[in-house]
């Protein structure tokens, strides 16, 4: 127990304290001095736009994942597919392929002389620019995070007491009413975990935006990476990281409060 406490202190608590410390300082000729300047900089329009864009893209991605993933979970959990466990397995397998390679592969599909454009030119159609825009980034996010939406919804739907649905049918509800008034409300815990598990990585990613959005495309993740590794302004980078961390941990805490009575809907 004691070794773990020391370990957690050194590798979990101290790094976070350090990042908070750096965010509250600025570099001057006489060393680090206390300042709130980094935080006021975050609220400059240029950075606010980046944050707004990250949240907006992550929101779109989450929405698409929900609309695309819910039917998948619903069909797989339905009676006729009950014995086909390998289907769920099929949806999870792509996650074992390297994340970067999976994203990179979209590059070969979408790029200027990529597969879609090759097919278009076979039919004599003009080439189109599919890469390096917001749509490409959202597509990449959806592709990478869709399984995170399917799994928790599937788990909840699968565990749902079928007699509740039969009861609703016996009481005269048609299939649409059963779905909207019984299935959907009962699957809410799964939807909430799914939304959390898609939104969080989507809002913090910097690889998808880097590969599919191009070098100029900035999300919060890219801003942090740029500050730490390219511009080397650790203090401003730390301030952005602290804000991102606070946002994420606060929203996870809120979601888990809403989600308290559901068990096992999450991936881990």
């Amino acid at each position: 127990m004691l070794p773990y406490l020391l370990w957690a202190l050194l590798f979990i608590i101290v790094p976070i304290l350090l990042i908070i410390y750096y965010s509250l300082c600025v570099e001057t000729d006489s060393g680090l001095v206390f300042s709130l300047q980094n935080y006021s900089r975050v609220f400059q329009p240029i950075y606010l736009r980046i944050m707004w864009r990250s949240v907006a893209l992550a929101f779109m991605c989450t929405l698409f994942c929900l609309v695309m993933g819910y039917p998948v979970a619903y069909i797989m959990a339905s009676k006729e597919y009950a014995r086909k466990g390998f289907l769920l397995f099929l949806f999870l397998v792509p996650m074992w392929m390297n994340f970067l390679l999976r994203t990179y592969s979209w590059l070969t599909i979408l790029e200027r002389n990529g597969i879609i454009n090759s097919v278009l030119s076979v039919f004599g159609l003009p080439n189109i620019d599919l890469l390096y825009n917001e749509e490409a980034v959202i597509l990449g996010m959806i592709y990478n995070f869709l399984p995170f939406m399917i799994l928790p919804i599937y788990t909840v739907l699968k565990k749902m007491d079928q007699s509740v649905i039969e009861a609703a049918q016996d009481l005269g509800a048609d299939s649409r009413t059963v779905f909207l008034r019984v299935t959907v409300p009962l699957s809410m815990p799964g939807v909430i975990s799914g939304v959390t598990m898609v939104f969080m990585p989507a809002v913090t990613t910097f690889i998808v935006s880097d590969l599919l959005g191009g070098a100029q495309f900035m999300l919060i993740g890219n801003l942090i990476e740029q500050q730490f590794l390219k511009i080397r302004d650790w203090n401003f980078g730390s301030a952005v990281s602290v804000i991102l961390m606070t946002l994420i941990i606060a929203s996870v805490a809120i979601f888990s409060m809403v989600d308290k009575d559901s068990e096992g809907g999450a991936l881990f």
Binding site: F11, E80, M97, L100, M245
Partner: protein, 264 residues
């Protein structure tokens, strides 16, 4: 309706697998092009095993995954036993800290560990970012996953068993290895496997905590992506994909047979 359902699942699976298939198909492409098929070759698979930078990255990825999941499993299992014995506030506080690496965005974990290492190096100028910092970072985020998979098993265990062992004269260590460990083994194995896959798949934390010259596969792929990925990487990922699929299949098959025996 049934056909519609099938069609929908088929479409979604096509969406999930098309990029992977394309990646694998082009690992057999004779030219370096990523989009134009010029003929079949197995050349990239041969070249792959002659490329020192790829082999080195593969070696780093696998050794770090093995070592970090081993240390995280030992540390995490011991910690979970300790946490389970705690009560009330202390337990909640330790769990809150344990949850941080799981909840925190990868990128924040990555930069905060990088800051920690560089901060420590100010006092030990001889050390620099590299294999060791990469390994420590992987243990750091993996330990939490192990704790979270072991704890539920401990909670469901009958605490009297361990006390009975002690009453019958077992030392605490013997009691742990003979009574507690066998009971929580499924959680320990899940935790270890989870840690292993998290480590293999990690890019973001590794990217910030490694030093120049020490790459794992993810970092190598990232640095190649700008220049255009070499078909050798396609070949490697096709191989890894097949290996992972086989492993998953074997694990699943053995699980199913166990379940059947238990049912009988």
């Amino acid at each position: 309706m049934k056909a519609l359902k099938k069609l929908y699942l088929g479409l979604m699976l096509t969406f999930m697998y098309a990029p992977i298939l394309i990646l694998i198909i082009f690992s057999f492409n004779a030219s370096k092009s990523r989009a134009n098929w010029t003929g079949f070759t197995l050349n990239w698979y041969v070249e792959l095993f002659r490329d020192p930078s790829i082999l080195k990255a593969l070696y780093n990825t696998i050794t770090i995954a093995l070592l970090s999941s081993f240390f995280a499993t030992v540390l995490g299992t011991a910690a979970a036993v300790g946490i389970d014995a705690l009560g009330g506030k202390a337990k909640r506080a330790v769990m809150a800290v344990t949850n941080i690496p799981v909840m925190n965005p990868d990128i924040v974990t990555g930069v905060s560990l990088m800051i920690l290492f560089i901060f420590v190096f100010k006092f030990f100028p001889a050390m620099k970012l590299g294999y060791v910092t990469l390994l420590l970072s992987h243990i750091a985020f993996n330990t939490s996953y192990v704790i979270l998979s072991v704890l539920p098993k401990l909670r469901h265990m009958d605490g009297n068993l361990y006390e009975a062992a002690l009453d019958l004269g077992a030392s605490p260590a013997l009691g742990f290895f003979k009574v507690i460990l066998p009971e929580i083994m499924p959680g320990v194995v899940t935790g270890a496997m989870l840690a292993f896959t998290m480590s293999i798949d990690d890019f973001v934390v590794s990217f910030f905590t490694t030093g120049s010259g020490v790459n794992n596969l993810s970092i190598l792929i990232y640095s190649m992506a700008r220049r255009g990925i070499n078909p050798k990487i396609n070949a490697l990922s096709a191989l890894m994909f097949i290996v992972v699929l086989t492993l998953l299949y074997l694990v699943n098959a053995s699980d199913n047979s166990k379940v059947k025996i238990n049912e009988e």
